[in-house]
Symmetry: C2
């Protein structure tokens, strides 16, 4: 051994906070003051807001509300601007939006103690999160997820990223936002399909971690489909709680060792999204990806047919289909395109292939290989499944 | 209060390791195996090396040595390529290099458990570190600083970044590298000025944290100037240790709250570098920046004239000048350009202006404003100082 070493272990203190409200920017709300101001602050906090068009479509008054909110508190905040971006994967695919936001941060003279607020769906949160994590090596960042999907899932997580070189989330980082605000008013104005998408991720996290939550979703499925506001808010909060606890208590929040994210059904989902040019939404893709891995778990002898059917039935009952023709597409060599998703999934997460399967509702485990022929057989079963059938539905 | 909150605190475990050696890529060295391999690894570690031209200039055989090292261990490593970049700020100013490295990481099919190795000076380490921290949300990263400056200072830190929109390090992050390897053979072939630059940062960290180290540098100044190898290796290790301890034990390694980096003299240095188009090197700029802040500490009554002179004399004895004409440059309004650096420094670090001053050797404290007229007076004193004078030199 011809070397010496200085080695130091230390711990980086993190605090993850998710707030649930209905009126973030109401005149009387003190939420942002609670989140952003500290006793010792001697100057107004500089704030820049980046939002997507979807947030404005669902709440046309939002821009005026935000201006009015900050305008009424000049001693606490100085609003430097509200920037509106398109939503969806387009935003993550095109570097011009990233460059534009960096330039806006610079023009607004934000510093590391300023605040970059993101208001939008998962794509906007991912792109703005990357800018917030890397401009000046990190600006305080508050996220307002506006879709049920992002409120229940990605928006309360600690990842950000953009797509690059044709790879989803090729450039990104792990960063704990200063705070996340789940304002349910955004969800209430969503069209039915988007309103329901959060439930798909809630089912996912319930299947992996919490059988009682799965049963509760089954019991409230009709209320949810009828857009009952209390049920929807309950489900988003329950799902968000599972995510926050997984991050904080899972032992490896930034996935540095071999810890895996909460991604049941996601190897298929990621591939389906990119194969469809993101025409299949993330929620729709996860519904199908879970269906494939539920059937696979059954075929490999880990789940009973009754339980597998119970899971598929709940997903369908919430309005999601379990099959799209992309699942059966072949590549030029005549092989399955979906199966290529296994290697892409391994490469993205790093190390050995690790796929989450189920041995019961709320009971997950990991495997390191999948039998491609069995996967294709499961896909064939889904293709032949009568649309909307739900035998043995609860 | 019309909201609910889920709040979780957790700690991100970090390990910072700096190795000191002379023969990283020698046939018999097991250092990289120690650093990169774990007992459970079931496949060779994929390795991509990015280096700067300076590393090759000082060690022309390096590329062959690296190929030979990895080629002899096919069961442990697979070398996917060695990419050579220009060094210096050019690399950090031009996005094309960043894009090129992302593309190389993708082409080499690196995953999060692969290793991106950087071999070069501070600019290369900063650029490669940013790619390593953000490709796939973080690839294992091993740094080989090749200059005395980066081995003694920035290369053993946890920051990365590129320049953007004309701002130094505008885009970057905090990330603990998987390991840092200080191979002293790189330093031994540097030209005299670069060989000595590490000593400037060593003096800086000694002035702030460790009076005994300052005295040891004074005692060994002649040996160092004569390029004594043991003295140089000792000084780099002593300086690196101060840095690692500041990061690990300082309580805020990622500078999230109000903790400040080890940056005595750096508000002037950053401005001087950018004013000179990086014609003034970082080490030269820090030497001048420290001289300004030492004299300022004295004029404000915190340091005796004897101690201030003792510090200036040591910097000069190591071969650095304390004044450049840029220090006296005026802007269009007739104001001092250097003074503009105060606001830029505040903006970059965020929050209140915080400047480190001295009340003794090894004893620093912070102030939140500086008297511009006194700063200009200190600069005038340095301008009038006879070159190379070192009255009362030790």
């Amino acid at each position: 051994m011809n070397y010496q070493v200085i080695e130091k272990k230390f711990e980086l203190p993190c605090r993850h906070r998710v707030y649930f409200t209905n009126d973030s920017f109401a005149a009387e709300s003190d939420l942002l003051e609670t989140i952003l101001r500290s006793a010792g602050d001697d100057a107004p906090t500089q704030v820049l807001v980046a939002m997507d068009e979807g947030a404005l479509t669902s709440r046309p008054q939002l821009e005026a509300e935000i201006k009015s909110y900050f305008g009424a508190r000049p001693e606490l905040f100085q609003l430097r601007g509200i920037q509106v971006y398109p939503g969806g994967e387009l935003l993550k695919n095109n570097l011009q939006y990233l460059s534009k936001l960096y330039a806006e941060v610079e023009a607004a003279k934000l510093c590391r103690h300023s605040c970059l607020i993101a208001v939008g769906g998962g794509a906007l949160l991912d792109m703005v999160g990357l800018v917030a994590a890397t401009a000046h090596r990190g600006i305080r960042h508050v996220r307002f997820p506006t879709t049920s999907l992002s409120q229940a899932d990605g928006g309360v997580g600690v990842k950000n990223g953009i797509n690059y070189l044709g790879k989803k989330n090729f450039i990104g980082s792990f960063a704990v936002p200063h705070a996340v605000v789940n304002d349910h008013r955004f969800v209430e104005s969503l069209p039915q399909q988007q309103f329901m998408e959060g439930a798909v991720e809630a089912i996912k996290v319930a299947l992996i971690r919490n059988g009682a939550l799965f049963e509760a979703i089954e019991a409230k499925a009709d209320l949810l489909k009828q857009r009952n506001v209390e049920t929807s808010a309950w489900l988003i909060q329950a799902s968000a709680r599972e995510h926050v606890e997984h991050i904080a208590d899972g032992g490896d929040p930034f996935e540095i060792t071999t810890a895996r994210p909460l991604d049941f059904g996601h190897w298929v989902a990621h591939k389906l999204e990119s194969m469809s040019g993101f025409g299949i939404s993330h929620g729709e893709a996860v519904a199908m990806g879970m269906a494939v891995d539920v059937l696979y778990s059954q075929r490999m002898g880990f789940l009973t047919e009754r339980i597998a059917e119970r899971i598929l039935a709940l997903i369908e009952r919430l309005g999601f289909t379990l099959y799209a023709s992309e699942l059966s597409e072949l590549n030029r060599q005549g092989g399955s395109k979906i199966i290529e998703g296994l290697e892409e999934f391994r490469e993205h997460l790093g190390g050995r292939l690790t796929i989450t399967l189920l041995r019961g509702i709320g009971a997950s485990f990991e495997v390191h290989e999948m039998d491609a022929a069995v996967v294709m057989d499961c896909i064939e079963t889904l293709r032949e499944r009568p649309v909307g059938e739900a035998p043995g539905a609860v």
